[in-house]
Symmetry: C2
Subunit: 365 residues, 2 copies
């Protein structure tokens, strides 16, 4: 459900130690895939949004970055289209160009679901900025942001209900199931944030991240596989690939949330620590059983000055939180690759999926 509020990864290509080995040209391949996905999906998305009643359309177009708050056209910036690109790459890997073309409408549906959750999450989390712009609720109010989110969920399922492809029914069922998992993930996230720093386990934090972030990436890949008429085992492998890649993505995003360069992330340094977020590196540190873990728990309970943030970050690092997160991200990426190799043994055919997975986890800290 989360999306990085950082700048586009193309601006920060420096690889890190914890990353899977990079081959030259891969970043470029992912960028091309994302651009092609955007080009294929945007007309379907625009037509779907244009079908909304005027007030809902206005909020949606603002949220997607296609209109300013006053309704005048804006230059876009509707996210990086990672989820639609995964739908299309999965369809292509398992069924070639024909399956890719057939899956465009479903790719737009997945992007609509993603954006519905962003609209609602921003209301619940009181997040004021998204994609470098004021969030919809700050502009239109809570009620209209909730209603626009509701309408986008309906529009996503509407797109699939209007799709005569034989895979559309299974895709709709999977997407609806995924929405329910995303809701449970967001619930777990907000519930965990209300608990004390010593009351959260690493296992439940990982489960929350899988539900909140991994589920929709997995669903995107699985839906692509459905449009390629893949068998159950391949659909499951693609789902697992997306989930593992999603967890790797979340781990790296959490590392960036603590140690990211503010000039690149667009967020103040240590923003996640200032908000006392129980992100994955922090929970790993708190549950490490080290002396630094005890120090961190005390700091999380008492230190409230801006100057303390650097000390907290250092303590998370001393307790092993940063190393763990980077190693875990690499491990998840390795698992993701195993899953995709199971369903798509030809490395050439799997290339697009791997390039996208590496792209989302290859963001400079």
């Amino acid at each position: 459900m989360t999306e990085p509020k950082a700048g586009p990864p193309t601006e920060c290509p420096a690889p890190r130690a914890a990353e899977p080995e990079q081959r030259p040209g891969e970043g470029h391949e992912a960028t091309v895939l994302l651009e092609r996905a955007r080009a294929a999906v945007d007309p379907v998305l625009r037509a779907a949004l244009d079908s909304l009643p005027v007030p809902m359309r206005r909020i949606a177009l603002y949220h997607f970055g296609w209109e300013h708050a006053d309704g005048t056209p804006a230059g876009g910036g509707a996210g990086k289209a990672i989820r639609p690109a995964l739908v299309l790459a999965a369809a292509s890997a398992l069924g070639g160009p024909e399956a890719r073309t057939a899956a465009v409408r479903a790719a737009a549906a997945v992007e609509l679901v993603h954006n519905f959750t962003l609209l609602h999450d921003d209301v619940m989390d009181r997040d004021a900025t998204r994609r470098h712009r004021p969030t919809a609720w700050t502009v239109f109010g809570d009620a209209d942001a909730i209603l626009a989110g509701d309408a986008l969920q309906a529009l996503a399922l509407r797109l699939l209900a209007g799709d005569t492809h034989p895979a559309a029914r299974a895709a709709a069922a999977r997407l609806a199931d995924c929405v329910i998992e995303l809701c449970a993930g967001q619930h777990a996230d907000t519930a965990m944030e209300r608990r004390g720093p010593g009351e959260v386990t690493l296992a439940e934090t990982l489960a929350m991240a899988e539900a909140k972030t991994g589920a929709l990436l997995g669903c995107a890949c699985a839906i692509g596989a459905l449009y390629a008429d893949a068998g159950d085992a391949d659909v499951a492998a693609l789902d697992a690939f997306g989930r593992e890649a999603g967890l790797a993505f979340q781990l790296i995003d959490d590392v960036i949330g603590i140690w990211g360069d503010p000039r690149r992330t667009g967020k103040p340094a240590g923003a996640d620590l200032a908000a006392r977020k129980k992100s994955l590196p922090v929970v790993a540190a708190l549950t490490s059983g080290t002396q630094a873990a005890a120090e961190l728990a005390a700091l999380y309970a008492t230190a409230h000055r801006k100057e303390d943030l650097e000390r907290i970050a250092l303590t998370v690092e001393r307790a092993g939180g940063r190393d763990w997160a980077q190693a875990e991200a690499a491990d998840r990426m390795a698992r993701a690759m195993q899953e995709v190799a199971r369903a798509v043994p030809d490395p050439e055919a799997a290339g697009g999926l791997l390039a996208l997975a590496e792209f989302v986890t290859r963001r400079s800290t």
Copy 2:
């Protein structure tokens, strides 16, 4: 999207002048239909809710009246099942018992959508009581009430995606379109409440009521027709029937909101006036061009004491708001009957639909 917060209509059978003529036994027929719908749909609903992740399930079961806030079983009270009963009555009228049986899952989906909108509307409207119990957001907080609503919308579409009946795809498309219309209706309602008493026309108030209340009743009837394999014209006539009956229902509900007996409605007398709601009788009064209209506008702007409510109600009545609403409700019911007669010429077959429509509009003021 609204649902009366009044007691069950069975307690208050006294007919009013503006109503269509009552035939003996009709109230009983509707009660039986509602009970039968509840009995058919509840097992599907319960199984669907039981499939939700624990935290979402808990909120949903509380909202449906099947659990107390602490998770212990409660005696029910999950509304009157009017919408599922309309789905089943429409299927039955056009396709007999076989179509009725086939439509049970779709009837549960319609009820889930209705309840998703109630959960979200209560958050937006800050309504603290629903079906004589504290609303979900007052018990679980805004975020969880929003998430539970999101999950119920997904669950509704999930039910239809898992339905192999040939009508399921068209039903899903119609239900998703209806959700979008409900969102637009709720938006119009909240937007109109923010405007001054002189800035709202009767036409837009009627359009809002149709989107907010009529749309889902129409959708319920149309979906029932789809499961009876009805042609486009009959589906459209059933949709129009539900919309007209829904408007009649809203008009009567608004009359009750002003002149209803608090012992029967469970709301304090004049609650809608105290909240300065721009309900249909009030807008009709305000736009009547009478001397009383001007008095009412002045009262709506200045009178804030509880003692003024009776005077405001009297002024709405003097400006013709009550008579107009009751005549309009009767007119809408007549149109509803014409629509149903077009699709179901046999009065015997149409009896269930007519009984339900009369039931929802036959509530004592």
